[in-house]
Amino acid sequence: MMHRYFAIVAFALTIFANVPASLAVQPNEMLPDPVLEQRARNISAELRCLVCQNQSIDDSDAPLAADLRRVVRERLVAHDTDQQVLDYLVARYGEFVLLKPRFELSTVLLWLTPALVFAAGLTLAARAAARQPAAEAKPLSEKEKAEVAKIMADGGP
């Protein structure tokens, strides 16, 4: 049923297949310390709501997302660094929870795509440029210059 529902939304929307999130972060979830709260928000934007389609826990109003937001804040209050919070959640939920995958063997291609494609394109363009004869126009020979002068004097061809 849920799949069917998601499928219909996705079909009809064509893009933006997001379920409406009314109020993701609730006022009572927030930490009193604004610095800590801002860190919690930043971390939340990097974490996937595991039961949603493509939302961070910061954007989702699913109950699981609320639980994860609470976990993030608990860890921060317990003096974890941002990285420790992320590690803690990866340990519990797997790499899937990270919206920005880590750079490792299985994601090498993903991370290097921009550089590789750009380099390949640049190489191809450079090779094509090297193949083409110099576009530099040769200066006119004396004979050609005389011809031009003659044509100009005659008032055009």
């Binding site: 009809a12 893009i15 999130a21 921009p114």
Partner: protein
């Protein structure tokens, strides 16, 4: 009866398209003019037949004929008329019908307006176009038939998802599809050129207007979707790097590259082979977008299994056209004559850089979108690729693109002088520096890169205007002379000016709203006030009400600026009757400075309501920029040079525009 009529018309359209695939192509091979000419009436009748089918389905929606399964599943008798009509494409089957309708519309347009096309090229273009139609008509009839009846008919329908009952979204798919499908013409022209074994500047002149039209509609379609998400989803986000969004963004990026490379080909006969390849790739990305959205393969690997027939069918179509196109390209491309030569520092060179960066960006989005699925398929490892990844990889690619954007038009064709072009841009750089200083003076807080991002957008905007000022010799001759030059400037130059200016606005809007957004999440009780974005907002209370097909609780906020009341905002929470689903409606007060954006949440145990208040500075620049790009495309399209079938102007221009 009318529904059966539509069903029958759709089957006839399939047969007509089969004829249109075979006969004109055979005619082009045998040089048989009568066979080639079959393409035109076939393309027009195909359009008429699909239009009959489409309007038959719309009739079923408008009359709420719930004996049609598609109507019963997606409509409801109490739905407002406009959403009944829009409901036709608010579901899988109907949206595929819209897809083929637009495809046929483009095909018929080539048949009618392409009077100056060489006969064999025209026959082949229409034949390829019909092959695409044939594939999708088969898909529609075999796996997604919208005309299937129900017996017994239910007394009422299931209704349309309420978040889709919105004017912007009702017209978002037709625009988006016009964009997607419009690139089919570029594809058909590319395949036809490969079959002909010949391609020249005239080819680019024919292809450009179609590509431009498709690009315009895709631009505005994406912008409408983004705007809708902004005000409807209730947290003011406007882009989420969602797979379905990426599906529409990839053809846009590739199409933008195609637009620019076709320009080089038209003017200088260079980049021929590349332009052909890009035309094939752009439409392939459109097809892949359709596949991604239709199969649901990316939203969840499992939903692919819900209806494997559809996913596999579209995958087959995708493989056939992309694979076939690329194979043909591999076989024939080396026979293509290469054209005009140029130095790296030249207009052509700058457009090669544009293409290189846009294609890299497309590849980044493509790999990011498909990687999780591929990795899971290959190793079983599940990863997510979301906004933080795309912002980190896509963003940096845009910086050199935007830096180089104003330089390109300043460089002459063939061989340019970079220092000279930069000199002319000095004023744009100056304006950008002033912008940075101004931002710090106003009081900058947030990421230190933000002011420079905004300056980059300002530089692009200023660069576009300076290029125009240069072309009319503003300040170098008298005002009267400049005005005369401005009038004589081709419309395509104004198109460039507006499109590039729009890009700059878009960048300013994106950076400003991302970096300087103000957010408050709090519990408010009636009578309490909040200062946000230079406004003073007082919460007066919550009331209940009823709309045509929903009931709602709406809050009332009094918005004051400098002590005087300027607006009352009523953000609400709705529950629709059918299907019973809650939505949030934000209360938005728009101004040039930015949007005040209020959302009301649940009542709290201790009294009061959860409230989210945002101030999104310059957020309108995002959609306004896209709109200006759209208008620029339209003005460029109305240029005499591009007008299809317009006789070429033989009278020499009164003032020849120097090649600078």
């Amino acid at each position: 009866m009318i529904v059966e009529f539509g069903h029958f018309a759709l089957i006839l359209a399939l047969l007509v398209s089969a004829v249109q695939v075979i006969v004109p192509a055979a005619g082009a091979s045998f040089k048989d003019e009568r066979m080639m000419r079959v393409a035109e009436p076939a393309a027009i009748s195909q359009l008429l037949l699909i239009a009959i089918a489409f309007f038959a389905l719309m009739y079923a929606y408008v009359t709420s004929d719930f004996s049609v399964a598609n109507v019963a599943a997606n409509s409801h008798s109490t739905k407002p008329l406009i959403y009944k009509m829009a409901g036709v494409w608010g579901n899988h089957e109907g949206s595929m019908l819209l897809w083929v309708l637009i495809l046929a519309l483009f095909g018929a347009a080539v048949a009618i307006f392409g009077t100056n096309l060489p006969p064999t090229l025209k026959a082949r273009v229409l034949s390829v176009q019909a092959a695409i139609a044939l594939a999708f008509l088969l898909f529609s009839l075999l796996t997604s038939n919208p005309f299937i009846r129900l017996d017994p008919a239910p007394s009422d329908g299931n209704g349309l998802n309420p978040i889709l009952q919105d004017p912007a979204l009702a017209f978002h798919p037709p625009f988006l599809y016009t964009g997607y499908v419009g690139f089919s013409i570029a594809f058909s022209f590319a395949i036809a050129a490969l079959l002909e074994g010949r391609i020249d500047a005239a080819w680019a002149r024919w292809v450009r207007p179609w590509t431009l039209a498709a690009w315009m509609f895709l631009t505005i379609g994406i912008a409408m979707g983004s705007w809708w998400a902004y005000y409807e989803l209730g947290w003011g986000g406007w882009w989420f790097w969602d797979p379905v969004e990426n599906a529409s963004f990839m053809p846009w990026l590739a199409g933008t590259a195609l637009l620019h490379s076709a320009l080089v080909m038209e003017k200088r006969e260079a980049l021929k082979v590349w332009t052909i390849l890009l035309a094939i790739l752009t439409f392939s990305l459109s097809l892949m977008g359709t596949f991604i959205v239709r199969s649901g393969v990316l939203t969840s690997v499992h939903s692919f299994a819900v209806d494997p027939a559809r996913g596999v069918f579209i995958l087959a179509i995708l493989i056939f056209f992309t694979g076939g196109g690329l194979t043909l390209f591999a076989l024939r491309a080396k026979d293509m004559q290469t054209g005009g030569l140029f130095q790296p520092i030249s207009r052509e060179g700058s457009l090669v850089l544009n293409n290189l960066l846009l294609v890299t960006a497309t590849a980044t989005v493509l790999v990011g979108t498909l990687y999780p699925m591929a990795l899971e398929g290959l190793t079983g490892q599940k990863i997510s690729v979301g906004p933080p990844f795309f912002n980190m990889t896509f963003g940096p690619l845009m910086i050199p693109l935007l830096l180089a954007l104003p330089l390109g038009p300043m460089l002459p064709w063939k061989r340019g002088d970079l220092a000279g072009a930069m000199q002319r841009l000095a004023f744009a750089v100056l304006i950008a520096i002033v912008a940075v200083v101004a931002i710090f003076a106003i009081g900058h807080r947030g990421p230190w890169l933000a002011p420079f991002g905004i300056a980059l957008g300002v530089y692009v905007m200023a660069g576009a205007v300076i290029e125009w000022a240069n072309r009319i010799k503003f300040g170098k001759t008298g005002l009267g002379e400049a005005a005369r030059r401005a009038r004589n400037l081709p419309r395509s130059a104004y198109g460039t000016l507006l499109a590039h200016f729009g890009v700059g606005m878009l960048v300013v809007g994106i950076i400003a709203t991302s970096a300087y957004r103000e957010e408050h999440i709090l519990v408010m009780k009636p009578g309490q006030s909040l200062a946000v974005g230079g406004y003073n907002v007082t919460f007066t209370g919550v009331e209940s009400g009823r709309g045509p097909n929903y009931k709602e609780d709406f809050a009332d906020f009094d918005v004051k600026r400098d002590g005087s009341s300027i607006a009352r905002l009523k953000p609400s929470k709705r529950v629709y009757d059918a299907p019973p689903q809650p939505t949030t409606e934000a209360g938005i007060h728009a101004s040039w400075r930015g949007d005040l954006y209020l959302v009301i949440g649940d009542g709290q145990p201790g009294g009061g309501y959860a409230v989210r208040a945002y101030f999104n500075p310059l957020v309108r620049f995002i959609w306004l920029g896209a709109l200006i790009m759209f208008i620029g495309g339209g003005i460029s399209l109305s240029d005499r040079r591009l007008r299809i079938g317009a006789p070429s102007r033989h009278v020499p221009r009164a003032i020849p525009v120097p090649a600078e």
